[in-house]
């Protein structure tokens, strides 16, 4: 770990000023950040600990827009009774992520901003365009079983691992951002960036900006939603493939559908293709599988991860059937 100066501001305003210093990084729950620093994958000169800031941990589900404070803990959101009832996909995505110890520390804002678990990025030595731009991508001719199939480029095929971000992509979600000088709201779809030539850039967040909240437009489709996650083991593992599906039903017919995919893309990935197949369809297993097929039609598998195409087709189908029973 490289040396740094530690500061713990008492107010958001102070934190925004500290975060604007060159070389500063914010620390929330620390469950990603401390590990990245220990591996020299992040080497901030100044660590601005925002974990204790007041007023940023509330979860408010009462209005036409749901608000999740950036510092709300994953465990608290996962066990929020109203969220479990009205937006099960969101609660499940958190419940199925990490472990209770991690969920107690990790924040909703930090979760959105977690970085890839690609071993070539994490090991600190392999060629990796994300870690050392221009050094190459070891996954292209290496072990790529866990890598992404969507939103990738010739420079990087690393996977976005977050479950919460994936589930949020199935809703009208926005990210509220503050800097010392301004505030802005960015739709989640534009918050993460798919890889182009510069896979080191993963979000539109600028130096000095702090995420203060995540908002979701309230929808009746929330009740008809689910998050399905398939892993190498039953618990405490990242998704091989996951899918969030949110439906509104008119009898057996799908009135509206939202579908997002995890474990398979460089960012939270919404599948308009699957949504188009589901909308207006009578929801049977066959219709679910057709939606899954549509979702993965544009996939770009590598050498060891083509299994995710068939697995993903079935995960989408399963999630669609579960969602329809709730809708």
């Amino acid at each position: 770990m490289q040396p740094f100066t530690y500061v713990r501001p008492d107010t958001l305003e102070q934190a925004l000023h500290e975060a604007a210093e060159p070389g500063a990084s914010v620390l929330a729950g620390g469950t990603t950040m401390v590990d990245l620093m220990r591996g020299d994958l992040a080497a901030p000169r100044r660590v601005v600990d925002i974990g204790h800031l007041p007023g940023l941990s509330e979860i408010d589900l009462s209005g036409p827009v749901l608000r999740f404070g950036a510092l709300a803990r994953m465990a608290d959101a996962a066990e929020d009774a109203a969220l479990k009832r009205d937006y099960p996909a969101l609660a499940e995505s958190l419940q199925l992520a990490a472990s209770q110890q991690l969920r107690n520390a990790a924040t909703l804002g930090g979760n959105l901003l977690q970085r890839t678990r690609c071993p070539y990025f994490r090991n600190g030595v392999s060629a990796c365009n994300k870690r050392v731009p221009g050094s190459g991508c070891s996954a292209l001719d290496g072990e790529d079983r866990e890598m992404a199939l969507f939103g990738i480029s010739d420079a990087c095929v690393a996977n976005y691992p977050g479950d919460w971000g994936t589930a949020l992509a199935a809703f009208d979600t926005a990210v509220e951002i503050r800097s010392a000088a301004a505030s802005r709201t960015v739709p989640l779809a534009n918050f993460h960036v798919a890889y182009g030539d510069d896979p080191a850039r993963e979000t539109v967040l600028e130096q000095g900006e702090i995420v203060t909240a995540i908002t979701v437009r309230a929808t009746p489709a929330g009740r008809g939603s689910t998050y399905a996650k398939v892993r190498d083991r039953q618990s405490y593992a990242y998704a091989l493939v996951s899918a969030a599906v949110a439906l509104e039903m008119d009898g057996d017919t799908v009135a509206s559908a939202r579908v997002s995919l995890g474990g398979v893309a460089s960012k939270p990935w919404r599948s308009a293709e699957a949504e188009a197949v589901l909308t207006g369809a009578t929801l049977t297993e066959a219709a679910g599988l057709r939606a899954g097929e549509a979702a993965f039609a544009g996939a770009r598998p590598g050498r060891h991860n083509a299994f995710k195409v068939e697995l993903g087709r079935r995960v989408v189908a399963r999630a669609a059937l579960t969602a329809s029973r709730r809708a």
């Binding site: 713990r8 729950g29 620390g30 620093m37 204790h52 209770q100 107690n104």
Partner: protein
């Protein structure tokens, strides 16, 4: 390089330390306070052997900076037994069920298990397995760990 004055509240006692900001809570406990009951396993947040309670909730001491823990109440395995030395019911249950082999993961398992019951996440064996999945045991004492926790949960 910055030296930080960090005041830690550990097992009800206050400690004033001068620390390199890079010091994790895990290192502060073990290297600075001599509380070596909390174990270093992976040091990456993956194994659970460093589990402690921070403000009453289980967390991983290897992923928390000591400076971030200042002002929080930290409880470690050393703080679990009663003042007269009587083991905590979870410690007694681990002994009764032989819920360990080498014992390396055990302090983390027990701290996690105490929370698991307190949280109300120990109603069935499946629920115990799910909520204890953050604690790995290389000796695979899992069946006996689940039995010990189920016992304490029934008594609670």
């Amino acid at each position: 390089m910055q030296t930080l004055d960090v005041t830690l509240d550990v097992n009800g006692r206050t400690h004033s330390l001068q620390l390199d900001p890079r010091t994790t809570l895990l290192d502060a406990l073990r290297e600075h306070l001599g509380l070596t009951g909390t174990k270093v396993g992976c040091n990456h947040g993956t194994c659970g052997s460093c589990t402690v309670h921070v403000d009453g909730r289980r967390q991983l001491a290897c992923l928390v900076l000591a400076a971030s823990a200042a002002g929080r109440a930290v409880r470690t395995i050393e703080g679990l037994a009663a003042a007269d030395g009587t083991p905590h019911p979870m410690q007694a249950a681990f002994v009764a069920h032989d819920a360990l082999q080498c014992g390396y993961c055990t302090p983390g398992q027990i701290m996690s298990a105490v929370s698991c019951v307190e949280e109300g996440h120990a109603r069935t064996d499946d629920e115990i397995r799910e909520y204890m999945s953050g604690n790995l045991c290389r000796c695979a004492a899992y069946p006996n760990i689940v039995a010990a926790i189920a016992d304490v949960a029934r008594a609670a």
